[in-house]
């Protein structure tokens, strides 16, 4: 079992279901990887992986995928162990159902990244589309364990129905951030559009002071000093030192969503 580097040779100009480029890559031989069939979306056509990618072995255990992969959807599906590095844009449903290991994406991701994630560490250095860390179609809860760190902008409905874990966005967020979250923590350093925390039951949103929240859904801000904020500061010290420093002193806090008797909180730093 060795690492592999998959380098995209040709832009397929068609949308491809890349879910076979998931955790099974780790245990496959180079020959098996080259034979992997890739389904063209909304078509019965199947393309052999070797037609699109050049596959080379690596000295380490990492799986590295390179190229403009914006037409490849589902990369990193069910990622469970080992390390995945993707260099370039990816399509929708990146690392959906991830349950462990480490994934680094250097490039933009489409919609529905990290759907139903339940473990591991995901870092994206780039912008992300809508529905980051949401539930799979029809599921009651979404992101349920692990860490997601985005350095870039994200779209709407990030963290929808999140249940556990920590979602860090070092950038701006779209509408309905943390909507209907059951628990967990979402931190953002940038601007947040309307609708954040709507329907939240429990969990914590950690947002900049400038963020506007709906006064019908959240209690007025109150200055508090809490022990738990210091514990959180210790956790994020390495990733967001400025936010960590702010959390070590007095912060403003709101409770909500009161319209659904929620016990969630927003901490403003």
């Amino acid at each position: 079992m060795t690492g592999k580097t998959l380098t995209l040779r040709n832009d397929p100009a068609i949308d491809i279901d890349a879910s076979p480029l998931g955790n099974s890559l780790v245990s496959m031989t180079i020959t098996e990887v080259n034979r992997l069939p890739l389904q063209v979306i909304a078509s019965k056509r199947v393309i052999g992986l070797s037609e699109l990618f050049d596959v080379q072995p690596r000295d380490d255990q990492r799986i590295v995928i390179q190229g403009d992969l914006a037409r490849f959807h589902g990369i990193g599906d069910r990622w469970a162990k080992s390390e995945l590095v993707v260099e370039g844009r990816v399509g929708n449903r990146f690392v959906s159902r991830m349950s462990g290991g480490e994934v680094l994406l250097r490039g933009d991701a489409g919609n529905q990244a990290a759907l139903q994630m339940r473990g591991g560490t995901l870092k994206i250095i780039g912008n992300v589309g809508d529905d980051l860390a949401g539930p799979l179609d029809g599921r009651r809860s979404g992101f349920s364990r692990g860490t997601i760190h985005v350095v870039g902008r994200i779209g709407h409905y990030a963290g929808y129905r999140m249940r556990r874990g920590i979602l860090i966005i070092d950038g701006d967020c779209g509408q309905f951030l943390g909507c209907d979250i059951v628990a967990g923590t979402i931190i953002t350093t940038g601007t947040v559009q309307s609708g954040c925390g709507f329907g939240m039951q429990r969990g914590t949103l950690i947002l900049p002071q400038s963020t506007t929240v709906c006064h019908l859904r959240f209690t007025p801000r109150e200055s508090v000093r809490l022990g738990i904020t210091t514990i959180m500061a210790n956790e994020i010290q390495r990733i967001l030192p400025a936010v960590a420093t702010a959390l070590r002193s007095t912060i403003d806090r709101s409770h909500g969503d009161v319209s659904r008797n929620g016990k969630g909180e927003i901490w403003f730093f």
Partner: protein, 300 residues
């Protein structure tokens, strides 16, 4: 040849210690005084498993960079014969002695896959207003109270440990042995991973197993009671007028051995042979406890 420290002979015998179960917790507060107040209550009535069920004491005062929330704090070690007893005592003491103390928070002081409930039980005091928060792989409970929130980690860890390391200071006068005892306890106090659970770190009521009275499983050890000289079988030197015992519980064999060494040296150097006739240790012939601290090896 008998070893001597500052002219005080160290008897060639051993201390006999026992397997125990232990845990460690950290109490923090806005000021060290509140933390110490909570610790004093939390560790109360915890000198001996014989009647208290648990041996518990302050391990040491922690610098703020060693506490989870960066506030002043203390570490406490607790030892019991059974896991069940620890699981009963810790949440009960936490609820009555730490939850009640202004500004305090309570954290696990040791990691283990064998948990002892803290916030897991105390959360119900929140009457539905409590909030849990998972950060990293730890879970905390936040219970609303009148000064803000009581922050309490869900569980602390339980580990195997050793209780009953000891040494006895044989004094020429009560004043001398008392001074030596204080010096020993003070030298051991800053050490990590050990506690001396008796008042001031010392006990005068060294015990033997059993009694002439049915129902008592420990009673005074007449062989070390100077006032019974001539009445019972004793091997005490005639110059010995008072004896005090330092009992040490620790997380490891080495930690106890090191504490015994530091304590004995401090005691001997504090009063010398003018104050101490000798240093010995308590054992039951090696039949009850599997951990034997031979003084000659400990002092080497």
């Amino acid at each position: 040849m008998t070893m001597k420290i500052a002219g005080v002979p160290i008897e060639e015998t051993f201390a006999e210690a026992f397997d125990m179960r232990a845990t460690r917790v950290i109490i923090t507060a806005e000021s060290i005084q509140w933390a110490l107040d909570a610790a004093a209550a939390f560790t109360g009535f915890g000198t001996s498993v014989i009647a208290c069920g648990i041996e518990i004491a302050l391990e040491r005062i922690l610098p703020t960079d060693e506490t989870p929330d960066g506030r002043p704090g203390v570490a406490i070690l607790a030892f019991a014969v059974s896991s069940k007893e620890l699981e009963k005592q810790i949440p009960r003491r936490a609820g009555q002695c730490v939850l009640t103390c202004p500004t305090t928070a309570l954290f696990a002081g040791i990691d283990s896959d064998k948990p002892i409930a803290m916030g897991k039980q105390l959360r119900y005091f929140g009457d539905g207003y409590q909030i849990s928060k998972s950060i990293g792989n730890r879970r905390y409970w936040r219970i609303p109270v009148m000064d803000g929130e009581f922050l309490c980690e869900e569980t602390t860890g339980r580990v195997d440990a050793i209780g009953g390391g000891n040494f006895l200071l044989l004094g020429r006068t009560l004043a001398d042995v008392s001074k030596a005892c204080r010096a020993a306890a003070a030298a051991i106090a800053p050490m990590a991973h050990v506690i001396t659970p008796f008042p001031g770190g010392a006990t005068r009521s060294g015990s033997k197993v059993g009694s002439k009275y049915s129902g008592l499983f420990a009673s005074t050890n007449q062989a070390f009671c100077p006032t019974l000289r001539g009445l019972v079988d004793q091997q005490l030197d005639n110059q010995v007028k008072a004896i005090l015992e330092i009992v040490i519980d620790g997380m490891t064999f080495d930690a106890i051995g090191q504490a015994m060494r530091v304590g004995i040296i401090a005691a001997c150097e504090s009063v010398g042979s003018d104050g101490l006739v000798g240093v010995t240790a308590g054992n039951y012939g090696g039949k009850l406890g599997r951990h034997h601290f031979h003084l000659a090896e400990v002092m080497r």
